[in-house]
């Protein structure tokens, strides 16, 4: 008795009447699994596995489906299921059937090229303005008293508490011909007739910069907040005035924050659908609008999938190359 008490719990169970059953349970049951996971999957790998799994299920698999559809043949009023690209034939041969019609169409139809270039232009200019507006704000917050910093950050995030769609609609009320801004300017006497702001590129810039500004400010803030103030003192001590100190010390050290913020604004801005649909030009589409039209108006799924695939590749590949070099540099800087 005294002996068995000294044994660990699972050993005591195994020596009992239902020993063989417990034995099986411990060897193959959930406890055995957790042991397996613990010994073969360190905590870090397990933690990383969760987002990877998420990406696999909700990004890679759907993307492969889209890729598959983009290579399918189009027929009027065609709808899924589409023929798979890869198929085992009856005689055991592997059939690969790629129809490039949708892709060649994209290249030959200037509408797509111009929509693509316009999207890149809008996203790039919006990112630039987000940076120009967001940098001073992030800098000011990072330099403010710690007690008020959280309040400022709260104010940055505050707009998220109302619906995104609602906020874009609100801009219509401000920008339209008889909107608040035009009426105010006419009341002041600055202008005689209303300015056309709705359905222009300008309105799209306003909408995107307004909506995505927090995504620029937050990564910039978290970078600037960590800067060592003695570096600026050192620069000042060595004869650099405030402007030169900023250009030579603060700005180069904040590049990771600028890159992170710019990517967070630029990528979704390229594929922005709601803002250009509600505020933008009707004669010049952005790529996301075109994509949606292909799906829902033309019902041409292969072509829409081809647009989606090209859009993804043209965005992701340069960004991944860029990130690769960025990471290398970061790793070198850290040691």
């Amino acid at each position: 008795m005294a002996n068995s008490r000294a044994l660990p719990a699972h050993a005591r169970l195994r020596s009992g009447r239902l020993g063989p059953l417990w034995d099986l349970f411990f060897r193959f049951g959930p406890l055995g699994w957790s042991h397996y996971i613990r010994s073969h999957w360190a905590g870090q790998r397990l933690v990383i596995a969760i987002p990877f799994l998420w990406l696999l299920v909700f990004f890679v698999v759907p993307f492969l489906i889209v890729l598959n559809i983009s290579f399918a043949e189009w027929a009027p009023l065609s709808r899924p299921p589409y023929e798979p690209v890869l198929r085992w034939l009856e005689d055991g041969a592997l059939q690969v059937k790629l129809v490039f019609a949708s892709y060649t169409y994209l290249l030959h139809e200037p509408l797509y090229v111009s929509a693509w270039l316009y999207s890149i232009k809008v996203a790039a200019i919006s990112t630039l303005f987000c940076l120009l507006i967001g940098y001073p704000m992030a800098y000011a917050i990072a330099r403010s008293e710690p007690s008020v910093r959280n309040i400022y950050l709260m104010l940055i995030i505050l707009p998220f508490w109302t619906s995104f769609l609602l906020r874009v609609y609100a801009w219509i009320g401000l920008l339209k011909n008889d909107g608040v801004i035009n009426q105010f300017l006419m009341w002041l006497g600055v202008i005689d007739s209303p300015l056309t702001m709705m359905n222009t590129s300008f309105a799209v810039y306003i909408g995107i910069v307004y909506s995505y500004l927090p995504f620029m400010i937050l990564p910039l803030y978290s970078n600037l907040e960590k800067h060592d103030q003695t570096l600026l003192e050192a620069a000042s001590d060595l004869g650099a005035g405030p402007v030169r100190s900023f250009l030579r010390v603060t700005l180069p050290l904040s590049i990771p924050g600028i890159v992170a913020g710019s990517l967070l604004v630029f990528i979704p801005a390229v594929g922005e659908y709601v803002i250009p649909s509600l505020l933008g030009r009707t004669d010049q589409l952005m790529i996301a609008k075109l994509l949606a039209d292909e799906f829902f108006m033309n019902r041409d799924w292969p072509r829409a999938s081809a647009v989606a695939t090209v859009m993804l590749l043209l965005l992701i590949v340069p960004i991944m190359i860029f990130q690769h070099f960025q990471n290398k540099e970061l790793a070198a800087a850290k040691k």
Partner: protein, 382 residues
């Protein structure tokens, strides 16, 4: 303690009343809200000095240094450098450079770029900058590390980059904030002498802030001891150690045994102090300026006390009996804590000159007699 240039009169300009001070702090005060960090400090520092500001943390020494560099405004008083009032001059226009405690090297620049930074602000030609940078890196022996980034260097190398960067502009005055604080003991000792060599080579005036008295003793031509925002004593390392003017300084620099007593005899060539704490009379072979009957303290350094196993014959003053309570062997010296008859613990340090066998050695609980020379006690009246 090494003694730098002790007897060289021309390097002791503070002894010459006609000498023009290079830096003058005049009634300098700094307040942060209700807190007075620096209180009415007046100081004169001369060209070519290594002046150490020594004090515990929060004594105001770093604030004083930062005011000199221009990072902190002055709440009251004036700072003059070479006769020029520094009040309205921003840090980037002062002919002063600082070596930061954290070194504050620019992490995104190579060693070379770090050192060149200051020169690039001066509109010098590229070739001039390059030659001065490489000369400076030669002086601090970092020539082959020019292309490295700070994070690829050891602590000692970073310290030398920081030094090179602050010296390359040939400042009139170099401020050093705990320059050796981040180095280990061996490297620190080595670097101290390197610093002195570089200082002599370039003839720059140094103001060094440190909390480490050994560092101050080694580096300084003079030390200013600070306490609670005030300068409590200024003097050469020897003066500070051998002739502290207050209980604070005596206690802060090195260790000391302090005996409170009453002045019973006050003659120009000697004084006698009756101390109940000691249980006897302290005889001092020099006169002091205090009224008879005044309460004073006799301070005796542990290394100036001798331990005898038998009572010395015919001696009644400067001698006290006690029991050894604690012995700490530290290799070069041993420290003994002796409980004298009045129950006060006296600290005595003796050099281990000979290898003694067990029965020759002084042991725990042994009754011993402590004596000292009549020149050893310092009489402190405040």
């Amino acid at each position: 303690m090494t003694e730098q240039r002790r007897n060289d009169k021309k390097l002791e300009p503070w002894r010459d009343p006609r000498a023009e001070p290079y830096i003058r702090f005049e009634n300098v005060t700094k307040r942060f809200g209700d807190f007075t960090a620096v209180n009415n400090v007046s100081l004169k520092i001369y060209r070519g000095e290594i002046f150490c500001l020594l004090g515990g943390s929060g004594c105001g020494k770093s604030t004083l240094l930062r005011m000199m560099a221009g990072f902190e405004s002055v709440s009251g008083g004036n700072i003059f450098l070479d006769g020029q009032d520094m009040a309205d001059i921003p840090p980037y226009e002062r002919p002063v450079n600082m070596m930061f405690q954290s070194y504050a090297l620019f992490p995104h620049m190579t060693v070379e770029k770090n050192v060149a930074f200051g020169l690039e602000q001066e509109k010098l030609s590229q070739s001039e900058i390059a030659s001065r940078v490489s000369d400076m890196l030669e002086i601090v022996q970092l020539g082959q590390f020019a292309a490295r980034k700070p994070h690829q260097l050891s602590g000692g190398q970073r310290q030398r980059v920081a030094l090179a960067r602050s010296l390359v502009k040939r400042p009139k005055l170099l401020l050093l904030d705990e320059p050796l604080g981040a180095l280990d003991k061996k490297l620190r000792e080595h670097t101290q002498f390197e610093l002195i060599n570089i200082q002599e080579q370039l003839g720059v005036t140094f103001i060094v802030v440190t909390h480490d008295q050994e560092e101050a003793m080694t580096l300084a031509s003079r030390i200013g001891v600070m306490n609670r925002g005030e300068i409590v004593q200024v003097g050469t390392p020897t003066e500070i150690y051998e002739f502290p003017t207050s209980k604070f300084v005596a206690d802060f620099i090195g260790s000391v045994n302090m005996f409170e007593g009453v002045l019973i005899e006050d003659l120009p060539d000697h004084v006698r102090i009756q101390s109940n704490e000691l249980g006897g009379v302290v005889y001092v072979d020099h006169g002091i300026s205090a009224a008879p009957g005044a309460v004073v303290w006799a301070a005796i350094r542990p290394e100036k006390i001798n331990i005898l196993r038998t009572p010395p014959p015919d001696v009644r003053e400067n001698c006290v009996r006690g029991v050894v309570k604690e012995i700490a062997y530290m290799g070069d010296v041993s420290t003994y804590l002796v409980k004298i008859d009045t129950d006060k613990i006296v600290r005595v340090t003796l050099p281990n000159i000979e290898r003694l066998s067990d029965d020759e050695r002084i042991l725990w609980d042994e009754t011993v007699y402590l004596t000292w020379h009549s020149s050893s006690p310092i009489v402190i009246s405040q």
